[in-house]
Symmetry: C2
Subunit: 224 residues, 2 copies
DNA sequence: GTCTATATAGCGATAGAC
DNA sequence: GTCTATCGCTATATAGAC
């Protein structure tokens, strides 16, 4: 897609920074096996605690084969994160929310969003990225662009739409989007990242999201 | 469950779970030097990327001396985290907020809280803990209790007070506290954890907090 | 391309002198 | 208590046969 070559004129940020796009190897091939093993192990245990031996063993591949496809542990980690982000962040159909009243739309996409970010895989990826943010700053940036920043842009659109329809009185749609996302994640996300609580049920998620929507819609209700 | 010995009567959670309390060695002593070096290195680079040699070298101490005071790398890491949490989380005077109108009180403690969690040390600690949450689950729990959970309890008190005074209409004070904390951190905290932005200025913090307080107070305004 | 076997280095942890 | 020197192990990465 847009790799390495594309940084010429004033290309928009969306196009320039997402360096997490990587070709997906054909299913069943050795590279695919390796990436799958790396994904399972790195996400479970973090970068430092996983050896190349362990990856090779889990992938049913020799270490030499592993190094033939991925030149180093760093490279393997990057490729694995790119693949995980690609599979996790398939843009859902946010459009359907646009046709609903704002509160219902927020409830719909909010619940979907929280369900996603509280999934074990998303949490594991989040944890690993955060733990290695210092060592892999570009990866961290790319993750942010592909993940949180992307989501904020989507919700910013929803906020602008709601304001255009006079359903909400918003002066800074991007800030409002961030606030809403923060509200629905609230403390639950942190607790999950720290492994101090179990995965919430769909009912619990709905309860959190409903409370957040209520607060948000009332807080941004148009005057009069 | 967790400490094996202490789970008898209905002791409050606060007393049972905070295993991060550790004696502070006298300043200038070797243990103090070691802990300081460990703090700098672990917080900067994470657990796996720091060797005991590196800690010893930075502390101007031999590795044998290091092992004489801290039996293993795990133990050193725990002691270091305990010390960092102790120095960072000195309970400020939240009481002063109680005498103010709710919006002013929230602005005051909110700004202080955000200033704290966006400090480089707090961020580094947060990052390391998150990255190693799998490997050190008890440590993670203890951190959560000493940090986020403690803060939520404090803010829950503020919410209850506000409701008693009919300044806010809150049905679930703990949830409201979580919501407020999430709102004022919003996306800024995530961006900082991912190293995709610089430390915010006090003006930026104030701006975020003001926006959050406005939304929160309006959203929980008593009817009528 | 893929394997077995190995090189080389750095790790956590320890022994023994002082 | 503190040091120097070193053990034993495992890590990343590579050489060479097939």
């Amino acid at each position: 897609m847009r790799n390495a070559v594309r940084a010429r004129n004033g290309a928009p940020d969306e196009a320039r920074m997402n360096t997490l796009v990587a070709p997906t190897p054909e299913a069943g091939s050795k590279p695919a096996q390796i990436l799958e093993a790396a994904g399972a192990l790195f996400l479970e245990n973090g970068y430092g605690a996983v050896s190349m031996d362990a990856v090779a063993k889990r992938a049913n591949v020799s270490k030499a084969t592993l190094y033939a496809h991925f030149g180093s542990k760093d490279e393997l980690f990057r490729a694995m994160m790119a693949r995980e982000c690609a599979t996790l962040l398939t843009a859902s159909t946010w459009e359907e929310a646009r046709s609903l009243p704002i509160a219902d739309g927020l409830r719909l996409v909010g619940e979907r969003f929280v369900t996603f970010v509280t999934s074990p895989k998303a949490l594991a990826g989040h944890r690993v990225i955060l733990g290695e943010a210092h060592r892999f700053p570009e990866l961290s940036r790319a993750f942010f662009e592909a993940g949180p920043a992307h989501t904020i842009r989507l919700f910013t659109g929803i906020m602008q739409e709601a304001q255009r329809r006079d359903e909400l009185s918003i002066t800074d749609p991007a800030l409002a989007a961030e606030q809403f996302l923060a509200l629905i994640k609230a403390n639950m996300h942190m607790k999950l990242l720290l492994c101090v609580t179990e995965r919430p049920t769909q009912e619990e998620i709905r309860h959190y999201v409903n409370a957040a929507v209520e607060l948000f819609v009332k807080g941004y209700a148009p005057a009069g």
